[in-house]
Amino acid sequence: MGKVVVVTSGKGGVGKTTSTAALGAAVAKTGKKVALVDFDVGLRNLDLIMGAERRVVFDLVNVIQGTAKLSQALIRDKRLETLYLLPASQTRDKDALTEEGVEEVIGRLRQVFDYVFCDSPAGIERGAQLAMRFADEAVIVTNPEVSSVRDSDRIIGLLDARTMRAEQGEHIAKHVLVTRYDAARAARGEMLSIDDVLEILSVPLIGIIPESQDVLRASNLGAPVTLSEPINAAAKAYLEAARRLEGEDLPVVVPFERKGFLDRLLGRRAA
């Protein structure tokens, strides 16, 4: 039986979809079979980030409504043969998802795949709740900003109350993934520190992804950064986070600002 991991945050624009793609690809690289499920019905993005937007025929809503088979809707990645995508529908809205339908699809994916990553929509409404409903684990994506951290806290509360596992009295493993971490701004005290974030959320840290233009570029080119530029600092951080997700005990190092003499002289910003 595979593991179902929901990638969620509450707040929008913090990097849920990017992180879903990067983590999924990183796990798939190790040979595990991975399915990425886009729950953002009506505002689907994961297909773009994965570079599969021109291959979408059927989607999650089709599968739930029985108009397509699961195998027809799953798109295999061209770069990694263990990586699959189940896209969301762009033309429907979140009411097209039913709890029973989602349960059945997740149940079947769980039998075939080692990991099922559910990319949650922003917010705390129905779409987000269905995305987390059947998860075994949760990755809470947070920016080191007060608004993002408070929304993440709200989501953690929902994870502990509204998921199937929580309702059955079982434990749902939670991990915080801090994204868009800017070492320079953190040093100047313009961002919350990692300690502050963890103190507020009291959930273990799975990784810190530095703010990076490469991540944005990779997303726009339709390739998860862990596949296209694996030597990049952000990609490395995602690869390490994926190893921690698989249970490896790697210490998390807080990125610091590296500034050489010349950089300082020229006032250049460190990447």
Partner: protein, 312 residues
Amino acid sequence: MTFAAPVETKSIRFRARSFVAFTLTPEAPITDWLEGLDHWIGNSPGYFNGRPVVLDLNVLKPDVADIALLVASLAGRGIRVYAIELEGASLGLDLPPLLSSAKEATAEGLLGRAARKARAEELEAAVAVEHAVPAEAPVAVLPAAVSANAAFQDDTSQDATVHEQEADPALAGLEAVRIEPATAEFAKAGSGQGALPQSSEPAAGTLMIKTPIRSGQSVFHPHGDVIVLGSVASGSEIVAGGSIHVYGTLRGRAIAGSEGNISARIFCRKNEAELLAVDGWYTTAEEMEGVSRGKAVQAFLENDALCVMPLG
């Protein structure tokens, strides 16, 4: 209970089930009461959405025509009355059904009417203090007897009984509704996200919460102390009849002594609270700036003023 229906194969099952409802107790003069209600709804719009409301008319004792008017005027405010509680009345079919033998939902379980009366007398002194407070004082002055919990229990004959609880007037303005564990069924269906996964009671009347309280969660414990071992997040709230002890950082709202207990206190290891209140007297984060922020503090009432003092 199971009843065998006349058809051999199928049987219909009837089950008794408890639900928690809110009791509104209108008081004369009714126009003033409605005005108070309007003011309160203005402060907490959408409060009654999807929440079952029972009208307790045992105080007002209006005639049938007045009841119809009252139900209609509440409907106009978006409050749908599920049932009416009025001893010895008989109402027409166009009005909500009558309920009787309500019980108060408390930490110790459900209390019958007699027990409730005794408790009401117990609280009278504290309530008197409440009324003595002038309106312009920095106190949450709120319409009386607005919010309360009650539980429906429909048995086989469809003749339902209501368990209700007189909530404290000062508490009414706070968007906090947490139902006791004993009658938590409705909480699951309605405001389930406020329910906390882990809570146990080490001593009668004390609610111990071992998990952090997350943003958006609300703990309502009207008769006793609340102990939180973790932190209380920004955007969450604790309402306790007794004192509140937080062993982590308090970033949310803490309202102690909500039943009119002037000796209740709030303790926390690190005070980042949005609001601290004891028996309706409150102070906000802005007012606490500098002196007591970020420290271990206790908050208590002294000469009708809320003092926030560093601990130790």
